[in-house]
């Protein structure tokens, strides 16, 4: 926000006021945050990771406050009519993985592993497995594991038994390192697909190159910085205003995208025309509207069936090779795949 107000001059000279509120993963606090922001006259809300967003969403809905951007981890953020996410969340990633595995990799046998937690399971089964089946891959082994798992050995052994061509893992970031390390120890050769959080450099440092090499991850923006102006702007903003201890690839990139996209909407509306209703109208009318360091978004509620809030579910896949992350695909058009 400092970057927007200081470097970009706010919305035509008027600074944007930012009111943070931490939900502490508590439904009551999430609810209180939403009400506090409503009371303060917030014209829009942007979210971070909030597994208790079922507290805030109903209040935002009743007050018609748009939630523009966030890290959609809860079903509520993905289905609410006032929520607009510049991401495909886990469902988008699972569809992209399934599609790439079946169509490009030519996988005939796939194991889908997922944490036994409703939103994660939903993404893996209702989107990942469903897409595999739709593409004719019927030899799919579904393996659920408890979120409080103490060892991935039985899980990956079960996955390996059927000699799969691909293993898709839908999990929280805490599972990344132990799962990849165990897969390496077991000598699993199937292509392994993991969520973008698992591509963090610190994880590769921790488990070693051999455990990460060849793994495929989803990313929600081009990973090369050289010709990517948005990535350079982000880097400059972090260098000047950010926390130096914050890793470059983190939830910060998503938050920065959210704020920049909100800024873009506000700028188009003009400082005297910004309101909850006008923002709602503008974001709902967005068709292939450019997104900062991400895929253009369309908020017509039809990009992902049953998850109307996901406006930009397109994904890029990247592979870890020779100690670095290399872009493997261009944007995978998840809406086109799902609406095919």
């Amino acid at each position: 926000m400092k970057f927007i107000n200081n470097e970009l001059g706010g919305v035509d000279g008027r600074p944007i006021q930012f009111e943070p509120c931490i939900s502490t993963f508590s439904v009551e606090k999430s609810q209180a945050c939403a009400q506090e922001l409503v009371q303060k006259g917030a014209v829009t809300v942007t979210g971070g990771i909030d597994i208790s967003s079922n507290g805030s969403i109903p209040i935002l809905e009743q007050n018609q406050v748009p939630m523009i951007g966030g890290v959609p981890v809860n079903n509520d953020e993905m289905i609410s009519p006032i929520s607009f996410q510049f991401s495909g969340g886990s469902p988008g990633a699972m569809v992209a993985f399934a599609h790439y595995a079946a169509e490009t990799q030519g996988a005939k046998k796939v194991a889908v592993i997922y944490g036994d937690y409703p939103p994660i399971k939903l993404a893996a089964v209702d989107y990942g497995v469903a897409e595999l089946n739709r593409l004719g891959v019927t030899d799919v082994t579904e393996i659920a594991y408890p979120i409080l798992s103490t060892d991935f050995l039985p899980v990956l052994t079960r996955a390996q038994e059927n000699h799969p061509d691909a293993i898709i893992l839908s999990a929280a970031d805490t599972a990344c390192a132990p799962a990849m390390r165990t897969a390496k120890d077991l000598g699993i050769t199937a292509t392994m697909y993991l969520v973008g959080a698992c591509a963090a450099p610190s994880i590769a440092d921790e488990i070693g190159e051999a455990a990460v090499a060849g793994r495929i991850f989803n990313v929600e923006g081009p990973i090369t910085v050289d010709h990517n102006v948005d990535a350079q702007i982000y880097g400059a903003a972090v260098a000047k205003y950010g926390d130096p201890s914050l890793p470059a690839a983190s939830a910060g990139t998503v938050s920065f995208r959210n704020i920049m996209n909100i800024y873009s909407l506000m700028k188009d509306l003009g400082p005297n025309n910004i309101s909850r209703q006008s923002l709602l109208g503008a974001v709902r009318a967005a068709v292939d509207r450019p997104s900062f360091n991400g895929h253009a978004y369309t908020c017509d509620g039809k990009q992902v069936p049953n998850l109307p809030a996901l406006c930009a579910p397109q994904e890029i896949l990247a592979i870890h090779e020779n100690g670095t992350l290399r872009q493997l695909t261009d944007w995978i058009d998840v809406p086109a795949i799902l609406n095919n």
Partner: protein, 653 residues
């Protein structure tokens, strides 16, 4: 053959659970404390080890002091052995300080006070870890594992050797602990103190010194265990700290007495989880529920109920007694005055205060279920929020799928919660004290994993949207726009339900039922000798308490408007038990204090909350300080203070 293979594959998981369970058992044998913070302590120490290895920095676990100090020049990183040794020294220091400052003063306090203190320690360790790690959080790189992980072939399955090394270490530690307790003078003295502290004192042993040494060993075990298991299980402040649940289950199966049995129980749980995974993927007809997490805990509850009393009670010098339960007096006055104050608040206060008031009322209602069952009858149950969750989701299901109107839907839902409470309560009535607490903790986890995560009940993709309550055309829903949220009408409904429950509970407490409850609480044998049907009394209390919790859950559902299973986790129950205890677990006022200080309640509305790591640490510290200073709760402390002043005044007048 494949079944045997999966049992073997579970040995790694089992070793992880057993490693933590051994420390839990050691702490209990040393001081009678079931330390819910044991895994959290290990997690903090594992981060201490990582910071040393990565940066040569020692994390300082004391709030207010600098986060870390450099022990080595910036270009020198200690070897794993050096970092490990320094971490073990820190573990020893923390173990000693925690025992001496927190649990030693509580050695004569009731079991529930120790539970509350260990929950305070849990919160403190989570908070201080978050604060020390700052924005690095989970992104903090971890050093290379200590144990080698080359793969070996075990009966046809590949097993990375780190699991086998861990298993070997667990076996060695178990053998050492068993030998220590059977053959060494120190171990025999600890066992003697556990049987009879008075006897140990007469033989020249200091129970405090023995307990402190055992706490030091247990802390070192916690740190070593988590450092070694982190590469297998991953390391995350929230997730690792929760590994205490299977560890407690293993200690429970081991009877909280035998290191060998505890180790075997830990291995058995891990192996069972692995086998369930195998069966679940092999047989498609098995219902799609989280059996791995839920089923072993459910089996433990059943075994425990069948076998009756499990945990040996310690022969402490003074048996901790529950706080005095004052007879509710001037009920009409309190209800009328309280209602008048709340109603005026609902119609005059601004939105955030109204919200705080409503949260406080709903939490106070659920806390009343704890006052009744734990405060009045002495049964420590850690499942009020699981029952509240059952009430909440059932109410939605009844309304949306079966068209049951308000107020019948919440009442029926509360009855369903009552039925579940009875299913658990009837067998659980065979156990008591801290063992009942752990049994209900296991049951609550099983309910969460097997029922509350069931997509049929929770609505799956569509989620659980809560229908608005309406009575005779009057909208009693909470939702409104702008400053009209939350609607006072919803607050009035909560107030009516709360006050009606208070009147019922107070009258039960004042009547013959209450006397039976207190008789059972103070001495079951004496109560039985006096003609009280102890079992029936307990089951009756379980039923009423479950109904109240279920009813509270339906109000929570109406208040949230959309539901998620996150709201009903076991640690919500633990936190509520802690705050109710602080308020005064044996009095109705205690439930109101718990409501007031609940997250999002009126105290939050008054002072606000940033929710940072420091806040958790401060809350944890406050919890430990209050329980040490007022082991019978704040209200009892205030009453005692008031009585002392009165006595002094009357002496001089």
């Amino acid at each position: 053959m494949v079944y045997v293979q999966y049992l073997l594959l579970g040995l790694g998981s089992g070793a992880v659970i057993a490693a933590l369970a051994l420390g839990v058992l050691l702490t209990y044998r040393a001081s009678g404390v079931v330390n819910f913070a044991h895994a959290a302590l290990g997690m903090y120490l594992a981060y201490t080890y990582i910071a040393l290895r990565q940066h040569g920095e020692l994390l300082i676990p004391i709030l207010g002091l600098p986060g870390s100090i450099n022990l080595f020049p910036s270009d020198v990183k200690p070897t794993w052995a050096t970092a490990f040794a320094i971490t073990m020294l820190m573990a020893a220091l923390i173990g000693f300080v925690v025992y001496w400052l927190v649990f030693r003063p509580l050695r004569n306090a009731p079991a529930v006070a120790k539970v509350v203190a260990s929950l305070g320690l849990f919160l403190y360790l989570l908070g201080i870890t978050h604060q020390r790690l700052g924005s690095q959080g989970a992104a903090l790189a971890k050093p290379k594992p200590i144990l080698p992980s080359n793969v070996v072939n075990l009966v046809g399955v590949k097993v990375p050797s780190d699991r086998l090394w861990l298993l070997a270490l667990v076996l060695i530690v178990t053998a050492l602990l068993a030998a220590l307790f059977h053959f060494s003078r120190f171990g025999l003295a600890t066992r003697a103190a556990a049987e009879s502290e008075k006897g140990a004192v007469l033989l020249g042993h200091s129970p405090d010194r023995l307990a402190a040494i055992n706490w030091i060993i247990a802390s070192m075990l916690a740190g070593a265990a988590v450092i070694l298991i982190a590469p297998i299980s991953g390391l995350d402040p929230g997730v690792t700290a929760l590994l205490i649940i299977p560890a407690l289950a293993a200690a429970l199966l081991g009877g909280f007495r035998s290191f060998t049995l505890t180790m075997l129980a830990g291995l058995a749980i891990g192996m069972a989880q692995s086998e369930i995974l195998n069966l679940r993927t092999q047989f498609g007809w098995i219902p799609d529920l989280n059996w791995q997490a839920g089923l072993p805990l459910l089996i433990i509850v059943v075994i425990m109920a069948l076998r009756g009393e499990r945990i040996p009670s310690r022969g402490s010098l003074h048996h901790g007694r529950f706080p005095v339960s004052p007879t509710p007096r001037h009920l009409g006055w309190w209800v009328t005055a309280g209602s008048a104050v709340i109603i005026s608040g609902l119609f005059t206060l601004d939105s955030s205060w109204r919200q705080g008031l409503i949260v406080s009322m709903v939490v106070a209602l659920i806390a009343l279920s704890i006052v009744l069952l734990t405060g009045y009858v002495g049964q420590i149950s850690l499942m009020p929020f699981a029952l509240a969750g059952i009430g909440a989701f059932t109410m939605i299901k009844l309304t949306t799928d079966f068209g049951v109107p308000f107020p019948f839907a919440p009442i029926l839902a509360a009855l369903v919660a009552t039925a579940l409470g009875l299913i658990i309560g009837i067998p659980a009535s065979r156990v008591r004290g801290i063992n009942l607490a752990i049994a209900t903790l296991a049951a609550a986890t099983a309910v969460e994993e097997l029922i509350l995560n069931w997509s049929w009940l929770t609505g799956g993709l569509a989620g659980s949207s809560v229908p608005r309550p309406r009575l005779f055309g009057i909208d009693l829903g909470v939702g409104a726009t702008g400053s009209d949220f939350p609607r006072p009408a919803f607050g009035v409904m909560c107030l009516v339900v709360l006050m009606a429950t208070v009147i019922v509970v107070a009258n039960l407490r004042r009547g013959s039922t209450g006397l039976r409850w207190l008789a059972v609480r103070s001495n079951e044998r004496a109560a039985s000798a006096a003609g009280t049907d102890v079992r029936r009394t307990k089951i009756e209390a379980f039923a009423i308490s479950s109904f109240i919790a279920g009813l509270g859950g339906t109000l929570l559902a109406y208040q949230y408007e959309t539901l998620s299973v996150n709201s009903f986790g076991v640690f919500a129950s633990l936190a509520l038990l802690a705050t109710t205890y602080l308020g005064g677990i044996a009095s109705i006022g205690g439930a109101f204090v718990a409501g007031a200080i609940a997250d999002g309640g009126i105290v939050t509305a008054a002072i606000g909350s940033t929710g940072s790591g420091a806040t958790y640490a401060v809350n944890g510290l406050a919890l430990m300080a209050i329980v040490v200073l007022y082991p019978n709760g704040l209200l009892a402390g205030i009453r005692a203070g008031t009585s002392a002043i009165r006595r002094r005044v009357s002496r001089y007048s």
